[in-house]
Point group: C2
Amino acid sequence: MENLWLAARAEGLGVGWVSFFRERDLARILDLPPHLEVVAYLCVGYVDDFPPEPELSLGGWAKRRPLSWAVHRENYGRRGLPGEEPTSLLEETIAAIEPLHQRAVNEARDRQERMTKPPGSLGVLEEVSVRLAGLAGECPPPIPEPAAVAVFAGDHGVHAQGVTSWPQEVTSQMVHNFLDGGAVVNAFAEQVGTEVTVVDVGVVADLPSVAGLLPRKVARGTADFTKGPAMTRTQVAYALEAGIEVARDLVSAGNRCLITGDMGIANTTPSAALIAVFTGADPAEVTGRGTGLDDAAHEHKIEVVRRALAVNEVDPADPRGVLAAVGGLEHAALAGFILGASAAGVPVLLDGVIAGAAALAAAALEPGSMNACFAGHRSAEPGHSAALQHLGLRPLVDLELRLGEGSGALLALPLLQASVRALRDVATFDSAGVSGHT
Amino acid sequence: MENLWLAARAEGLGVGWVSFFRERDLARILDLPPHLEVVAYLCVGYVDDFPPEPELSLGGWAKRRPLSWAVHRENYGRRGLPGEEPTSLLEETIAAIEPLHQRAVNEARDRQERMTKPPGSLGVLEEVSVRLAGLAGECPPPIPEPAAVAVFAGDHGVHAQGVTSWPQEVTSQMVHNFLDGGAVVNAFAEQVGTEVTVVDVGVVADLPSVAGLLPRKVARGTADFTKGPAMTRTQVAYALEAGIEVARDLVSAGNRCLITGDMGIANTTPSAALIAVFTGADPAEVTGRGTGLDDAAHEHKIEVVRRALAVNEVDPADPRGVLAAVGGLEHAALAGFILGASAAGVPVLLDGVIAGAAALAAAALEPGSMNACFAGHRSAEPGHSAALQHLGLRPLVDLELRLGEGSGALLALPLLQASVRALRDVATFDSAGVSGHT
């Protein structure tokens, strides 16, 4: 609300609000999605006089968001300011994704050769720093800090098929654990100096309205995809938009690196299905034991993935359709999150197999988005290696983690930062008076 | 000097100094090694009265070192306070190395099972946290911070055999670069919040007396080991002691994790020789391309290692003899550094192939010292993998770095710290009200 007020002020608009209406009537007229709770109806118009300075901009708050981000014309999702052509947030985001800036790439490669170290001796981190320069469009690029991890949480109808030994309510219990600071993602985030944001895009249970939890519930879990599509295309669109908006807001708040997190009991099953579709691999190759299944349960899980691919029509050239058929709400939101960060020119550290499946969807929507993606770690799940190979990403950490939440990606953050710090701070042979090799 | 003063005060002793003497005469009488520069001759005795509080202890300076650390009786190296049996620093250090505390190990394993995550899902980091608990003797163990990296620098007579394309003076040029903050080790240390100490144990060139550089020059480089031993046993003993003392001082200064660093043009050649001796591997398997040799130069380097092993008598059961025959001064100092940290119950993060070769020597001197060692990364040098396998250590970072200086180990520090933070801060299923799996 405060940001909208600020944005309107920036455009020379005055804002007043109306709260005398029946909420659901209004939602029906404007075609609002169910996750939006209408708290006020705002009147926007031109006024003659303003106080000298907006109070909030003096307080060092988050950066001003463009007004257009918050304007839906007549119907939800039909974006654009009056007088402009309406756009879709997804299309607008994809259009904003730029290729790597070649000049910065070249400068970074050249500098890596002149730094006081044997050429190539920083191994994988040299190419990481080069790509970060290309993404930022300058060499050296800014150090990717502060960073923010967004944990997208959702439930899965396929849980009913017995694909995991964990009860579904653990999803919401773990969301509470995240908010209380008691999970691994909190411990690792504290270690690397990162804030944790939890985004409910599809948890079955009601969750409290508290700081640190963004309510973006598109549905109470997906449908069981062994019996039909997991989601509607509209739900996929809402989840994609939620992810884009979270990315945009976190970047607007000053973050220079976004980290993917996820929580959803049973979500390695839709991940396996998505990876099978996008990589063309057989379900047996990409379906893992998740958080610890025995042989029989593992066989059953593979069978469930096969059934999902048989029951639903899936075409890798139609990524929104694939997400709707066999994805999860957190997968769709993560794909949007990746696209949003990429459009902002900010690096994304991907976590494990859920992020890998979502990245395949993002790459199918816009291959250029992969320029912004760095594989934080390699999960013990076999599907993750298949996804990384398909995407051409090399994991920075490889320690057999299989937890999710963003834990593996958080561990990689200092490596990303160190690669830039070296590019920025290390002397060259010339400047340090060190002899080169013969 | 200030610490000695403080230590004497703590023992109820007064200190006065004499500077009227001929330095080299005194050195000869006391059998002092050449790296010691005599600046004063101190009189120590009992006095009747003191001011109420030592000024330095009020200022929050480094912890008090035991007086015995600085007392050499009659001859250098004959340690022990008056009235006590003289000891050797190396024997005393080895005797102080304790096995892992089993109770803390068990508590840590038990806690890993009860934390709100699937059992085993933190992969390699679970066992890391368990070992850190056993080393500290408590669960959770302290977070290994602050950490300090010590870069041991030395030159190598085998440089004359053309085993590298870099001129020997690059060793001292890089020491200057470290002191100016311009090297990769400085950039990475800043990223992870670590101080850098450089220790000259054997650089050919004269180096300045400046803060951040500890002068412990045992010799101006080693001898060419294709023609006889690289060092005398006395030089090895001095270098081992230098390493032990640096470890003790850094721990006394408050550090809770020590990181190995190294600099020495040509030092992958003695590393290969040491690894061949201690692992029993053929030189061709463990001799790498260092900072970038072509095929012919690589073949020549293997031949040089073979010659070193033919010319010198080497017996892996006599690690001091092996170090003297085919080691380097920084290798011996690093072995002492590992033993010193282990005796203090403080973890050591090992860097690449030079640290790996030194760790083999430390393990041969006292296998229990490996309980304190964590492999920071896996170098691209083939000998490093052989060393790690022999030591049973799993590298935390594996990104094809081949730089040395401590760079790879520094990157692993946040992983070590994160493993403890998880063990310490993550809620249990009981405490967080999260359901277990069925």
